[in-house]
Symmetry: C5
Subunit: 98 residues, 5 copies
């Protein structure tokens, strides 16, 4: 799992019924201190996330299919939660409420 | 999943019946803003994509086999859609019609 | 498997029952000599690890599900042990007791 | 899948019957224009490839096992074809006959 | 698969019966010419390898479980052979007997 920020959306007709109507979000991978990493990803949303929110992401095929609830879904990267807070070396480095 | 641009084709007899007659396309991985990343890949086409088009790509073995429709296909990277548009930080950064 | 140091925690409601009540720890990947690598990860804890401890981590989906004991858990990265000691080229480079 | 050039061989007794008598080839990963990438790999040969030839490689466990024809084979990287030609941005960048 | 040199050992109680009594070795990944790459890994030993030896390593979960002989083992990286020799561009670049 990794931390990321939702930075945008992708719209594309996907050639598989398991992905009909799914939202595809663009993510920027984050360091634990909140600074951006170089990588970006495209993920399915299972947590009702919006642009600007910090999210927890699972990046493994079988996990993605469990989360989508279909064994035949062609998915790998899924947003599983909107992050409440992060501590690093005992300090609070992110708090969704502030 | 990731965004990519189709940049070419590869022709090679592949030693597995599940891949007979499949088109193999060369992809350049893209950043969300459309700038090229360093990586390239070879993918099967499931979206009727052509050179120069922007595509959505799944890069996981079991997903690839679902898309090809054969459990025994030796595939990992499959083009699942031609991208319509991409938004980044609220701005439209790609639009296939313009 | 790789070596890592626990550097923090992440709190996020995760949308899957198999992860209810699980602790998510922030890890910094380590070189064998104990110096930090650039990468960080988020892992489930199966070894009772705390911030500052050196741990052994498995990073593969099916292994993670075995460790969690549920075939349907969306997990990939799991802490499997707190490290006792490490030798490198015949020298002891880490010893948890000193 | 990716493109590679066969650059050498590895000889090692492997502790699994599914790999008895298999040839292990050293590969250098290639860019689509034929220039070398930094990475190298070791692969099983399923295409009768020789040193100096350009090959198409699959790099995923379940695909590798399909190609070897045994569900229990510990393989991930398999050469699936000797490349005939490659086009990039409409130009022919590789042709095995010339 | 990749080539590596055994550079050390890790001792850690691992929370899974399938790993009881297994030796965990520290590896440095090698280039085909024998020069060290930046990466290190921790692997199970299935070839009786010792510190300083050059080994062949499989790095995929299902392959690792085949080699360990248990479907429920949380392993990914396994040493499958001690290397006898390596040729690169027709030259012998490593020979275990010299």
């Amino acid at each position: 799992m990794f931390l990321a920020e939702v930075i945008g959306t992708v719209v594309s007709p996907v050639q598989h019924p398991a992905l009909d109507g799914e939202r595809l979000l663009l993510l920027r991978v984050l360091q634990p201190d909140g600074s951006p990493a170089a990588e970006t990803r495209i993920a399915l949303d299972r947590a009702g996330a919006g642009v600007g929110e910090r999210v927890l992401v699972v990046d493994e095929g079988n996990s993605g299919r469990q989360l989508v609830g279909r064994k035949d879904a062609p998915v790998k990267t899924v947003i599983v939660g909107v992050v409440d807070y992060v501590t690093l070396d005992g300090r609070l480095t992110y708090d969704a409420l502030h």
